[in-house]
Symmetry: C2
Subunit: 143 residues, 2 copies
Amino acid sequence: MTKSFRQGQILKLIRSGGIFTQDELARALKEVEIDATQVTLSRDMRELGLVKTADGYRQLDRDTPNMVFAGLATEFLQDVRQAQNQVILRTAPGHANSVAVALDDEEWPEIVGTIAGDDTILIICPDTAAAQTLRAKLIALLG
Amino acid sequence: MTKSFRQGQILKLIRSGGIFTQDELARALKEVEIDATQVTLSRDMRELGLVKTADGYRQLDRDTPNMVFAGLATEFLQDVRQAQNQVILRTAPGHANSVAVALDDEEWPEIVGTIAGDDTILIICPDTAAAQTLRAKLIALLG
DNA sequence: CATCTAAATGTTTAAATATTCATTGGATTG
DNA sequence: CAATCCAATGAATATTTAAACATTTAGATG
């Protein structure tokens, strides 16, 4: 079980609502066979840009991926990593290119440009903060 | 010193950034001659829809008032109250109508309709939650 | 393969926030 | 005007979150 898989599950749970504390989230994750301490979740929250509101945790607003890209991502996107102002995506073999094209179409402000190989996409962002935002956005689309 | 004045000041401080805890906010308010305990601030935060992020407290995204309305409000808006799904504005005497017209122009989703008297505007919202959101938005414009 | 490094996570505990219950100071009404 | 109600706030405290530090693990490197 990888970190980005866990974070993907966290986003799913948050979206479905009704999560008010990190302990609550930890319990919800346990139902899905994911063990994580409150401390780990606190860190995940920060990385994913989640905030506590009166009606539970929420993701800070940012524009939503369109259907074409979201569909491709759900099907082929396998991992999302970040280093400095770069984000690296792994896709199913042979699909990097189509995913990258759809991603380019999004014209997100966090993306300066992309380069796709066979199963890897390199994305250049303006800065580290943008890369982090982008990572959170993309993790949400992991299967 | 009224509650909505305090909340207006809170929004100002939050906007200018660099507020990371409620105690910090309390100290900043003291500089402006406003005394409030952490408990009161916790409640204010909730009412105003403020959330804690990695870069300090922030207001949850919602669309921003346009210049015309914002200008009028800054000049004439004096108080904002909420009861159920209704929000009541007090303006300088004789100015309720012009403020209400500008407000209607905003076409906000939180506003079903408005009625203006001489110095009072009644706003009907779809529900209590919308009214609360609207209140927070408007308080930000108080002188 | 031993060693080093860095990311990820855990443990402990401090700090920050929210809740509960109580008080106060207007309005409202009989 | 007393009695009552209610919004606003505070004090004490419980709960939640984050910081500091330690440990583990997987990959790099000699």
